[in-house]
C-alpha cells in the first residue's frame, strides 16, 4: 500500500529536481542582469535596476556602466545567419536528395565528410585557415564568417534533410513517375511539399547553429565582425551584468526553437538520422 502514495511524491520530486537543474543556472543569470549592487554577504542583490538592459538596447550611454549597445552585433548576427542558412540549405538539399533517394556508392563516407567539421576539434583548423583567409582577403569580413558558418552548419543541413527525404515512401514518387511526371516535376510536386516540414526543422537547426557559432567567428571574424556570441565573450571578462543581459538575449532563439519544434516537428524528420 505504501508504494502507491510514495510513487507520485517521488515523481513530483524528480520533476522538481529536473526543473531546478534546468532553470537554476538560468535564474542566477536573470538576477545578475538586473543587479546594480551585489556583493557578499548579501545572498540577493542589494540594489536592482534595468541600467544594463537600457545600455545594451542602446537606450542610454552611461560611461560608468561598462556596456555597449548590442544593435551592431545583432545586425551582424542576423545578416550572417540568414545568408549562411540560405546558402547552407541550397547546398544541402540537393546533396540530401542524392544521399536519400539516388544510388550512390560510399554514402557513409559522404555523410561522415559533413560530420567532420563538427567532430574534429575546430580550434586548430581555424588557426590554420586564418592565413589562407587573409591571403584571399576574407579574414575579418562578413563573407568570410558566412563561409565558416556554412561549413559548420552543413552537418545539420545535410543530415536532417537526408533523414527528411528518407521518410517519404518511395511508392509516392514511383506513382508520380508512372503517370508520366519527370524527375524534376516529381521532386517539386511530390517530394518537396512532403519533405517541407522536415526541411524546415533542418533550416531551424542550421539557423540557430549559425546564430550561436563561436569558435570560427572568433578566429576568422574578429576583430571586424562582432556577432552576439563574440560580444558575450568580450563581456564575459569582468562584466557579469552585461554578459548576463547578452546571455538572456541569446536565449531568445532557443525559446523560439522550443516553440517551433513543438509546432512543426514530427519524429520522422530525425527518425533515420545517421543512417
Amino acid at each position: 500500500m505504501g508504494i502507491r502514495w510514495q510513487k507520485p511524491i517521488f515523481k513530483a520530486l524528480a520533476i522538481g529536481l529536473f526543473v531546478f537543474i534546468v532553470v537554476g543556472p538560468l535564474s542566477s543569470v536573470v538576477l545578475w542582469s538586473v543587479a546594480i549592487k551585489w556583493y557578499w554577504p548579501h545572498v540577493l542583490p542589494q540594489e536592482i535596476g534595468l541600467a544594463y538592459w537600457k545600455q545594451a538596447l542602446g537606450l542610454q550611454r552611461d560611461w560608468a556602466i561598462a556596456a555597449v549597445s548590442i544593435w551592431d552585433a545583432f545586425k551582424n548576427s542576423m545578416i550572417v545567419s540568414i545568408v549562411a542558412t540560405v546558402i547552407t540549405m541550397a547546398l544541402a538539399i540537393p546533396a540530401a536528395y542524392a544521399l536519400a533517394k539516388l544510388r550512390l556508392p560510399l554514402k557513409a563516407v559522404f555523410l561522415l565528410l559533413f560530420l567532420m567539421p563538427k567532430v574534429f576539434p575546430q580550434q586548430p583548423i581555424f588557426v590554420n585557415l586564418l592565413p589562407v583567409f587573409t591571403r584571399w582577403g576574407l579574414a575579418g569580413t562578413l563573407p568570410g564568417v558566412m563561409l565558416i558558418h556554412i561549413l559548420v552548419c552543413l552537418l545539420f543541413g545535410t543530415w536532417i534533410s537526408t533523414s527528411a527525404f528518407k521518410a517519404i515512401p518511395e511508392s509516392l514518387e514511383e506513382a508520380a513517375r508512372s503517370v508520366g511526371a519527370t524527375r524534376w516535376q516529381a521532386f517539386w510536386r511530390i517530394l518537396m511539399p512532403l519533405a517541407a516540414p522536415g526541411l524546415l526543422v533542418s533550416t531551424v537547426f542550421v539557423f540557430v547553429t549559425s546564430l550561436t557559432e563561436f569558435t570560427g567567428t572568433f578566429f576568422l571574424g574578429l576583430p571586424f565582425v562582432t556577432t552576439l556570441p563574440m560580444l558575450l565573450y568580450s563581456a564575459s571578462g569582468y562584466n557579469m551584468q552585461f554578459a548576463s543581459v547578452l546571455a538572456l538575449v541569446l536565449l531568445v532563439p532557443s525559446l523560439l526553437f522550443m516553440v517551433l519544434t513543438e509546432r512543426i516537428f514530427r519524429p520522422e524528420h530525425l527518425g533515420s538520422l545517421g543512417r
Binding site: R103, L104, F120, Q122, L147, E173, L251
Partner: protein
C-alpha cells in the same frame, strides 16, 4: 518491398550516374576546400614548426607539459558521453512511454538548453556553481552543507554538470525522434504479454534505436573534446582540458607547433569515434535493407 525499392533505384539511379555526384559536388567541394586543407596543414605544421626538418619535438613537448591534461580530457569526454547517453536515453524513454502532461512538460523544457552556446553555459555555471554561488547557498539554507566548506565545482564536477546540462537534452532529442518512429503496436504487444517497463526499454526500444544512440554519442563525445569556452571559464588550472592549453600556447607563446601537436592529439581522440561510426554505417549499407 525489397524488390520494389531496387526497381526504383534502377530506374532512377540508372538514368544518370552523374546526377548524384553533380548534386553532391557543391557541398562536398565546400568541405574539401575549407576543411580538409586546413586539417592537413595543421597536421603538417605540428611536425615542422619551430624546427628546420620534420621532428617530433612538438609532440614530445606537448606530452611532457600536458600529459595530465590529455588524460583528463579523455576522462571528462568518456564520462560525459556515457552519462549523457544514459540520462538522455532515460529522459527520452520517459517521454516516449509516459503520455502524461508532466512528461510533455519535461520534454519541452529540456529543449531550452540545446542551442545555448557554451559561452553562455560557462557564464551561467560560473555564478551558479561557485563556492558561494546559487547552488551552494541554497544547499546551505537547506542545511545540507556548511557554507564554510562548500562543494567545489570548479573541477571535473562542474565541467560534467555544464556539459550534461546541454548534451543530455541533445541526446534525448535525437533519440526521441527515433523512438517516436517505433511502432506503438510493438509496445502494446509487449505490454499485453506482461512485459515490465524496464524490459520494454532494454530489450525492445534500445536495440531498435541503436543508430540514433551512436550518432548522439559521437556528437557528444566530439563536442566535449573540442569545447574551449566552458573549461576556460570554469577551470584554468591543472588539470584542465586540452583546448585551454592550445589557447594558452597560442596566446602566451605564439607557439603554433605545440598547439598543432595538441590539436592532433584531439583528432586522435575523435578518430576512433568517426571510424566506428563509418564502419557501422558502411556495414549497414552492405548487409542492411
Amino acid at each position: 518491398m525489397r524488390s520494389g525499392r531496387s526497381e526504383v533505384k534502377r530506374r532512377w539511379g540508372g538514368a544518370s550516374k552523374l546526377l548524384p555526384l553533380l548534386l553532391l559536388f557543391p557541398a562536398v567541394s565546400f568541405v574539401l576546400v575549407l576543411y580538409l586543407y586546413p586539417l592537413f596543414s595543421s597536421v603538417i605544421r605540428s611536425f615542422t614548426l619551430g624546427a628546420q626538418s620534420p621532428t617530433f619535438a612538438n609532440y614530445l613537448k606537448a606530452w611532457a607539459l600536458y600529459k595530465k591534461d590529455i588524460l583528463f580530457t579523455v576522462e571528462v569526454a568518456l564520462l560525459g558521453t556515457f552519462l549523457s547517453i544514459v540520462l538522455g536515453l532515460a529522459l527520452a524513454c520517459y517521454a516516449r512511454i509516459s503520455r502524461s502532461r508532466a512528461a510533455r512538460f519535461v520534454n519541452s523544457l529540456s529543449r531550452l538548453t540545446i542551442f545555448l552556446p557554451y559561452v553562455i553555459v560557462g557564464q551561467m555555471m560560473r555564478s551558479f556553481l561557485a563556492p558561494h554561488g546559487f547552488l551552494n547557498v541554497i544547499l546551505a539554507n537547506m542545511k545540507v552543507i556548511d557554507l564554510n566548506s562548500p562543494i567545489q565545482f570548479f573541477n571535473i564536477r562542474g565541467l560534467l554538470l555544464g556539459f550534461l546540462w546541454k548534451e543530455v537534452p541533445f541526446v534525448s532529442f535525437i533519440v526521441l525522434s527515433s523512438l517516436q518512429v517505433v511502432d506503438e503496436r510493438y509496445l502494446e504487444a509487449a505490454r499485453s504479454v506482461g512485459a515490465k517497463t524496464r524490459h520494454i526499454v532494454l530489450s525492445i526500444l534500445i536495440p531498435m534505436i541503436k543508430p540514433a544512440i551512436i550518432v548522439g554519442g559521437v556528437l557528444t563525445f566530439c563536442t566535449i573534446v573540442s569545447t574551449f569556452t566552458l573549461p576556460y571559464m570554469l577551470v584554468t588550472e591543472s588539470p584542465t582540458m586540452v583546448t585551454v592549453d592550445i589557447a594558452h600556447r597560442v596566446t602566451y607563446f605564439r607557439d603554433y607547433g605545440v598547439a598543432n601537436a595538441l590539436g592532433v592529439f584531439l583528432y586522435l581522440l575523435a578518430a576512433p569515434m568517426a571510424i566506428y561510426y563509418l564502419r557501422r554505417m558502411v556495414g549497414e549499407e552492405i548487409y542492411g535493407y
